[in-house]
């Protein structure tokens, strides 16, 4: 029988290297997948995953066994994404448009934006909160309760966000149909 994630995490927190390696093997793709759905760009997701992996040993030291390991891991990824978004927003606000050195960087960004398909456009239009919610419920197949636990909000909020997202998606689909 396979050792549970929670037992592995407990062992890893206690210093078991093999347990940690196994845990990372099992969940690496999950981290990358969620990171991608949250930030929407492969390069960003890869960078984020690298950061998360590097920070995981220290974070795991605080493993309490109070939640399912995957819930805890999702929370780590979501928080790391939020930090990255905040940093990016601050950087963009601070430096944007102030001079020529900025132009080339922005040109590159525009190109990347054009390359994004319907999914990216839809997700980008939904806003960060809805995006986080959908990435967890649709992308990771979490229940509303689990998603609520990961995001640290109430279940009601998740339900509300999902219905809001539905409304927006329907509006987008209608627009597409009209176009």
């Amino acid at each position: 029988m396979e050792t549970s994630d929670e037992d592995l995490a407990q062992a890893a927190a206690g210093g078991d290297r093999a347990a940690f390696a196994l845990l990372l093997e099992r969940h690496y793709n999950r981290i990358l997948g969620l990171a991608f759905r949250l930030c929407g760009r492969r390069a960003d997701a890869e960078d984020l995953t690298q950061d998360i992996c590097a920070a995981l040993p220290a974070k795991l030291a605080n493993w309490r066994g109070q939640a399912r390991f995957t819930t805890w891991l999702y929370r780590v990824v979501v928080n790391a994404t939020h930090d990255a978004r905040r940093r990016a927003a601050t950087r963009a606000k601070a430096a944007n448009g102030w001079g020529d050195w900025e132009k080339s960087r922005r040109a590159a960004q525009t190109e990347a934006a054009e390359a994004q398909d319907w999914l990216q456009a839809a997700m980008a239009q939904l806003g960060d909160d809805l995006r986080d919610t959908l990435a967890l419920t649709l992308g990771e197949d979490l229940t509303q309760a689990e998603a609520a636990e990961v995001l640290g909000v109430s279940e009601g909020t998740i339900a509300w966000r999902i219905s809001d997202a539905k409304k927006k998606l329907r509006a987008m689909a209608a627009e597409e149909g009209a176009a």
Binding site: A12, A13, G14, G15, R17, F20, A21, L24, E25, Y28, N29, L32, G33, F36, R37, R42, A45, E46, T49, Q50, C53, A54, A55, L56, P57, A58, K59, A61, N62, W63, R64, A67, W72, R75, V76, T90, K93, A94, A95, N96, G97, W98, G99, D100, W101, D117, W118, L119, Q120, A122, L134, A135, L138, G139, G152, K166, L169, R170, M172, A173
Partner: protein, 702 residues
């Protein structure tokens, strides 16, 4: 209804990239490495033997004893300690029961001693336990998981009851952070189940709250190693610097023309100074060599009356760091208009009062600097102050400089706090400046900031256009930078360049004196706009050339004659120095071999090294004027002290940035050259530069 959801879900799953195998492997390996490092950090034995894992309160007390010398004091403080411990045990339920953080007094009187001894005996039932605990604490840790053994059962009973209470107390603090994995060591308190550990934790917490976290984590470590030991939170350094790669060597036959815009900024030197004074070398990206060279005043010939706003002068000298090349110095000296007849100034101080401006080297220095500057203004000049933090607001309406007290009082009222609404502030400052400006007067916005614009820029393009439009109306913008750590040099440079102004960095009051008092006229009165410099090198005389610095000011060759292209401004009395390193054909210092199939460079009889073209616009005009002069090979080469000093600073800048063209020439040579070229140095700037170069020499890797 759920069609969209299904579609999104499918798209989401389909779009999720397969992990890159190599990246995955590397990431996992890095994580494992960190894991090992983490184990080493947390599992390593404590460096001092007197803090075994079961120790907490009592080792601290013991340490105190070891500091006391006389017997009487020892006896006295023992009883004080016993007394304190007695109180602690006796009242475990007293909320916030604390122990004093300071060691007991040494000089106690006999009567106090007696009284304390008496009290100590009154607390007798618990003191034996104390002694027992002391013994435990003093012994090396033998059982990490069970630091307190059953020997002193009564104490454990008492403290484990206390523990229940402590748990309640700490559960609140620990849960203050909703993010579990970030809660760090504080979570230890809410979850660690061992009563003895909890007692220790509680004791540690009561004894010295500041050190409680690492103390506690050390003690409960085997169960739950925490990050408290290894994670050191550093203030994030968000400095941004504008720079490009150093200019390369060009082959004259391929690329004979070099074009760049004038630059009289000095920020880079002040930033380098602030780094060196703090004991570290400035990063290569912070070094803009032209700004370092231009920081120093040189004794260039001023233009004669009616000659034009500035006079170019050209010197050719031996390159200090390469015996086979020459340095061509192109200097522009701006005219110094009659100060008596200057038009009234309209100044708007736009002051960043966001939270990041807190501190003596920021808002404090800024206030002092503006106070200094106020002394230089004429009674008819006008001053307004706009502060911006979370929102922008006019702090002082336009006030004649004669009303010094009013202006000083407004300055003193400024306080730092909040985020930075840079755009609203700039717009308000420009509005006020244009209202203040009467016909024929000069208006300037002086932006004082650490460059951290973090809120309120809704549309950066619009703001940039806005600044450029305001430039057309004659309102100029100068930027004064303050503080390190989040200095956004890149934004400040861009603002000043778009606003026809200068950017300076103020690190000391002395620098404020230089920028705002000694060079006030130059900083505030423009004499030539959009000054562009173009040099065409003669391939018969110059095989290779390299412009030292001016990377951020490079212009395309065709933009030289295009009056719509913005360039640098010269203020009254400003001087600008540009240095080219040139290599003659056939010189052993040539870096590029001659091409076999290229046409040979034409023979030239003229003896000209090259041809210098300058373009500038008089303030307020739209079309530029052209100045032309040949660069001649000098008959004798006896360079003046100014040229040598400029070369020494250019060499120093290259050492800091990228010394690849310098060969064996090092910081000692730069210092020797600068020392020999100190000249008059009335203000002591060059002497200061030499001190800084020596400081840098000590910091440079050998």
């Amino acid at each position: 209804m759920s069609d969209e959801f299904d579609r999104l879900k499918d798209a989401m799953k389909a779009a999720t990239p397969a992990p890159d195998a190599a990246r995955r492997e590397a990431n996992i390996a890095a994580a494992l490495k960190n894991f090992d490092a983490h184990q080493e950090n947390t599992a390593a034995p404590r460096p001092t033997s007197d803090r075994p894992e079961g120790a907490g309160l009592m080792t601290g007390v013991f340490k105190m004893f070891s500091k006391l010398s006389t017997n009487a004091a020892l006896i006295g403080s023992t009883s004080v300690a016993a007394l304190l411990f007695g109180i602690y045990i006796a009242n475990p339920f007293q909320p916030g029961a604390t122990l004093p953080e300071s060691p007991p007094r040494v000089g106690v009187t006999a009567s106090e001693l007696a009284a304390q001894n008496g009290n100590g005996e009154a607390a007798q039932p618990t003191t034996p336990a104390t002694d027992d605990r002391v013994a435990t604490a003093n012994a090396p840790a033998t059982a990490p998981l069970a630091p307190a053994t059953g020997r002193d059962q009564p104490v454990i009973d008492t403290t484990s009851e206390a523990n229940g209470r402590a748990r309640e107390t700490y559960a609140i603090t620990a849960d203050a952070s909703p993010r579990e994995e970030d809660a760090g060591a504080s979570n230890v308190y809410s979850t660690a189940p061992e009563p003895a550990e909890m007692a220790e934790t509680a004791a540690g917490q009561n004894f010295a709250p500041r050190v409680a976290a690492p103390l506690a984590s050390g003690m409960v470590m085997p169960l739950a190693p925490t990050t408290a030991d290894i994670v050191i939170h550093q203030m994030e350094n968000t400095e941004e610097f504008a720079n490009d790669d150093p200019n390369p060597v060009h082959v004259t036959t391929e690329n004979p023309v070099s074009t760049f815009a004038a630059d009289v900024d000095t920020a880079s030197w002040a930033i380098a100074r602030s780094s060196l004074m703090n004991g570290y070398l400035p990063g290569p990206d912070t070094v803009r060599i032209e700004e370092m060279v231009n920081y120093f005043p040189y004794d260039y010939a001023a233009p004669a009356a009616g000659e034009g706003p500035f006079r170019p002068s050209i010197t050719v000298m031996q390159t200090p760091w390469n015996p086979n090349t020459q340095l061509v110095r192109i200097a522009l000296q701006g005219e110094m208009p009659a100060i008596e007849g200057r038009p009234p100034l309209n100044l708007v101080f736009l002051i960043d009062t966001s939270g990041s401006m807190q501190g003596a080297d920021r808002l404090g220095l800024l206030k002092q600097s503006l106070r200094l500057m106020l002394g230089e203004l004429r009674p008819e000049d006008q001053v307004a102050i706009v502060a911006y933090a979370g929102s922008a607001g006019q702090v002082l309406e336009p006030t004649p400089a004669a009303e010094r007290a009013t202006i000083l009082a407004a300055l003193d009222r400024l306080e730092a706090g909040g985020s930075t609404a840079g755009q609203a502030g700039l717009q308000q400052a420009y509005t006020i400046a244009s209202q203040m400006m009467a016909e024929g007067e000069v208006a300037r916005v002086l932006l004082a900031t650490d460059g951290d614009f973090n809120v309120g820029i809704s549309d950066p393009e619009a703001l940039k256009d806005y600044i450029a439009t305001q430039r057309e109306t004659g309102v100029y913008l100068s930027v004064l930078g303050f503080g390190r750590g989040n200095l956004d040099d890149a934004t400040m440079q861009a603002l000043a360049q778009n606003g026809n102004g200068q950017a300076a960095y103020i690190d000391t009051l002395i620098e404020a004196q230089k920028v705002l008092v000694d060079q006030l006229t130059g900083a505030l009165f423009p004499i030539a706009n959009d000054v562009k410099i173009q040099v065409e090198w003669n391939p018969a005389m110059v095989a290779e050339y390299r412009l030292i610095g001016y990377e951020t000011r490079a212009l395309a060759r065709e933009d030289f004659n295009n009056d719509r292209v913005d360039a640098g401004e010269l203020g009254a009395g400003h001087a600008m120095t540009a240095l080219y390193e040139i290599t003659a054909p056939g010189s052993p210092a040539l870096l590029n071999d001659a091409l076999r199939y290229a046409t040979a460079a034409p023979e030239s009889e003229s003896g000209e090294l090259g041809f210098l073209r300058l373009r500038y616009k008089a303030p307020g005009e739209d079309s530029s004027q052209l100045l032309e002069t040949p660069i001649l090979q000098p008959e004798t080469s006896a360079p003046d002290a100014d040229a040598q000093f400029a070369a020494a600073i250019a060499g120093f800048g290259q050492i800091l940035r990228d010394p690849k063209y310098l060969g064996d020439w090092g910081i000692e040579d730069a210092i020797a050259l600068a020392v020999g070229a100190r000249g008059q140095d009335a203000f002591g700037y060059r002497a200061e530069a030499i001190s800084l170069m020596r400081l840098a020499g000590a910091l440079l890797p050998r």
